[in-house]
C-alpha cells in the first residue's frame, strides 16, 4: 500500500501535466495551474528540508567530536546566525540597509565569487600539465580552442580581424552542427527518462535536487 500511492501520485500528476500542455480549455488548465502552483511551494519546502538535514548531520558530527568538528561549529554558527538575523528582520530582510543584506554582501557574495575564481589558476596549470595533443582529434580541439581564446578578446582583433571572423564562423557552423546533434540526442534521453519516470518504470532513489551553475 505504501509503495503504490506515491507511484499513483506520480502517474496521475505527470500524465495530467503532460495533457494539460496541449489543452487550453479552462476545465483542464485551471487544475493544471493549481498543481504547478502547489509544486512551487513543495519544492520550496524541499530546500528547507535540505538545510534542516545539513543542520542535523552537522549537529551529530559536532556532538560526536567527529573529524574536523571545530569547523562544523563554524558552519553551525554561520547557519543559525544567518537564519536568526534573517527572520528577525521580517519582510525587510533584503532591504539595502538590512543586517541580512550586510551578511549577504560580506560573507556569501565574497566567498561564493572567490570559490569559482580559483578555477582560473587551475585552468592555467592544467593547460600546461594535462593538455596532451596526441591524436588528430585532440589537435582539432586545440586549434579550435586557440582560435576561440584569441578571437574572443580584443587582442585577437588587434592582431588580425580575420581571427575574430574565424572564431565567429567556427561558432556558427561546425560548433553549431555538433551542439545541435548533442542537443537532439540529449532531448531524446530526457523525454525517454521522463516518460519512464512518470509511468513508474524508472528506478529512482530519492527526491529532486535544486539547480546549479556549471
Amino acid at each position: 500500500m505504501k509503495r503504490q500511492i506515491p507511484t499513483l501520485i506520480t502517474l496521475v500528476a505527470g500524465l495530467f501535466c503532460l495533457i494539460g500542455f496541449f489543452v487550453p480549455h479552462p476545465a483542464i488548465r485551471t487544475l493544471y495551474d493549481d498543481i504547478q502552483q502547489w509544486v512551487i511551494v513543495i519544492v520550496g519546502a524541499t530546500y528547507v528540508l535540505g538545510v534542516a538535514n545539513l543542520l542535523r548531520i552537522n549537529l551529530g558530527q559536532m556532538s560526536a567530536r567527529a573529524r574536523d568538528w571545530p569547523f562544523k561549529v563554524v558552519l553551525l554558527v554561520g547557519l543559525i546566525g544567518t537564519t536568526a538575523i534573517g527572520f528577525s528582520e521580517g519582510t525587510h530582510y533584503l532591504d539595502p540597509t538590512s543586517r541580512f543584506t550586510w551578511i549577504y554582501n560580506t560573507f556569501y557574495s565574497s566567498m561564493s565569487s572567490t570559490m569559482f575564481s580559483l578555477l582560473a589558476f587551475f585552468i592555467a596549470s592544467a593547460a600546461f600539465r594535462a593538455f596532451r595533443i596526441r591524436s588528430f582529434e585532440a589537435l582539432l580541439l586545440a586549434i579550435a580552442a586557440f582560435i576561440l581564446m584569441i578571437g574572443r578578446v580584443p587582442i585577437g582583433n588587434a592582431i588580425h580581424p580575420a581571427i575574430p571572423a574565424a572564431a565567429d564562423w567556427l561558432m556558427e557552423v561546425p560548433q553549431n552542427a555538433a551542439k545541435r546533434g548533442i542537443l537532439i540526442g540529449a532531448a531524446l534521453g530526457v523525454v525517454a527518462t521522463g516518460i519512464r519516470l512518470i509511468l513508474g518504470m524508472e528506478r529512482t532513489y530519492g527526491g529532486r535536487g535544486a539547480g546549479g551553475t556549471s
Binding site: 502552483q37 596526441r134 584569441i150 556558427e172
Partner: protein, 277 residues
C-alpha cells in the same frame, strides 16, 4: 630532448599560479589599454532588440545568476538596465537563482538613480521564487498569482508598473541574464517556444556555446557571451565600465594559457608517444 624542456616537467604548478596572478593584477592596477573592444553581430542583435522596444512599454528582465558569476553577468545586467531605462522602458525584474535578488536590487537601484526612475512606478523587483521551470510555466498563465508580492513584500496589485500585467502577452521582449540552470535554456524551452515572446540573453562564457543553435533558429534575437560580450555591449551602450576595464587582463591571460598548452606539449613531447588514444 634538451635538458631545458625536460626540467619543465617538474615545474611546480604554483609558479604558474603566480604568473596568472601577476598577469591579472598588473593590467588592472596600471590600466594599460591593449586593444579596443569591437562589438560582434550577436552583441549588436542584443542591442538592436532593445532599441526596437517601444518606449513606455514594459520588459521582463530575468537576473538568473548569483555572486559566483558576478564578474561576467553583473556588467551585462547593469548595462541592459541602463539601456532600457535610458529609453523610458519600464522593467519587471526577477531572479530564479536563490543568490539573485540582492543583485537585481543593486542593478535596478543603480540604473534608476542615473535615469531618475522610481521603484514601483518605473521598475519593480519581484525577487526569487522556488521551482525553476515551474515558475516560468506558471507566469504564462498568471504572473500576479505566481508572484503575489514583490521582493519587499508589497502586494503587486498596489504596484503601478504591475497594473495590467497578466502574462507574457504584455511584454514586447524578455531579457535573460543567465549563469546555468535554471536560465536561458529553460526560458527558451518553456516561454519562447510556447508563447513566442521575443528574447535576448546575456550569459556566462561557459554556457554561451550551448545557445548558438537557438541563435541560428531565431529563438534568441541576440546573445552576449561572457565578460567580452559584456564589454562589447557596454561600448554600444556608450557606458564603458566594469567589463571593458577587465579586457586587458583577459587578453593577457588568454595568450598566457595558449602558451602553456604549447609549452606543455613540447615539454612532454617524447614522453607518452607509446600511449596512443
Amino acid at each position: 630532448m634538451s635538458p631545458g624542456l625536460s626540467s619543465l616537467k617538474q615545474l611546480d604548478r604554483r609558479w604558474i599560479f603566480l604568473a596568472v596572478a601577476l598577469l591579472v593584477v598588473i593590467p588592472l592596477a596600471v590600466g594599460i589599454h591593449i586593444a579596443p573592444v569591437a562589438p560582434s553581430p550577436r552583441t549588436r542583435g542584443f542591442y538592436d532588440a532593445i532599441e526596437k522596444v517601444p518606449s513606455g512599454s514594459t520588459v521582463l528582465l530575468a537576473g538568473d545568476y548569483d555572486p559566483s558569476t558576478v564578474a561576467e553577468n553583473y556588467p551585462m545586467h547593469l548595462a541592459a538596465a541602463r539601456h532600457l531605462m535610458s529609453r523610458d522602458v519600464k522593467i519587471i525584474g526577477l531572479a530564479l537563482y536563490p543568490g539573485g535578488p540582492p543583485l537585481t536590487d543593486q542593478v535596478l537601484r543603480l540604473a534608476a538613480a542615473e535615469y531618475g526612475k522610481k521603484e514601483g512606478i518605473d521598475y519593480v523587483n519581484l525577487g526569487y521564487k522556488a521551482g525553476n521551470e515551474l515558475v516560468m510555466s506558471q507566469m504564462g498563465s498568471s504572473i500576479p498569482r505566481t508572484f503575489p508580492v514583490d521582493r519587499r513584500g508589497v502586494p503587486v496589485d498596489q504596484i503601478p508598473v504591475m497594473h495590467g500585467v497578466q502574462n507574457y502577452a504584455n511584454f514586447p521582449l524578455l531579457v535573460s541574464i543567465s549563469a546555468g540552470y535554471p536560465g536561458t535554456k529553460e526560458w527558451v524551452q518553456q516561454v519562447v517556444s510556447r508563447y513566442h515572446l521575443p528574447m535576448v540573453a546575456g550569459v556566462t562564457a561557459v554556457s554561451a556555446p550551448e545557445y548558438y543553435p537557438y541563435l541560428q533558429t531565431g529563438q534568441l534575437r541576440g546573445l552576449l557571451g561572457g565578460m567580452a560580450g559584456g564589454a562589447e555591449y557596454e561600448v554600444l551602450v556608450k557606458h564603458p565600465a566594469l567589463a571593458t576595464r577587465g579586457m586587458d587582463a583577459q587578453s593577457l591571460a588568454h595568450v598566457f594559457i595558449a602558451l602553456m598548452i604549447l609549452l606543455g606539449n613540447l615539454a612532454f613531447l617524447g614522453e607518452d608517444r607509446s600511449r596512443r588514444r
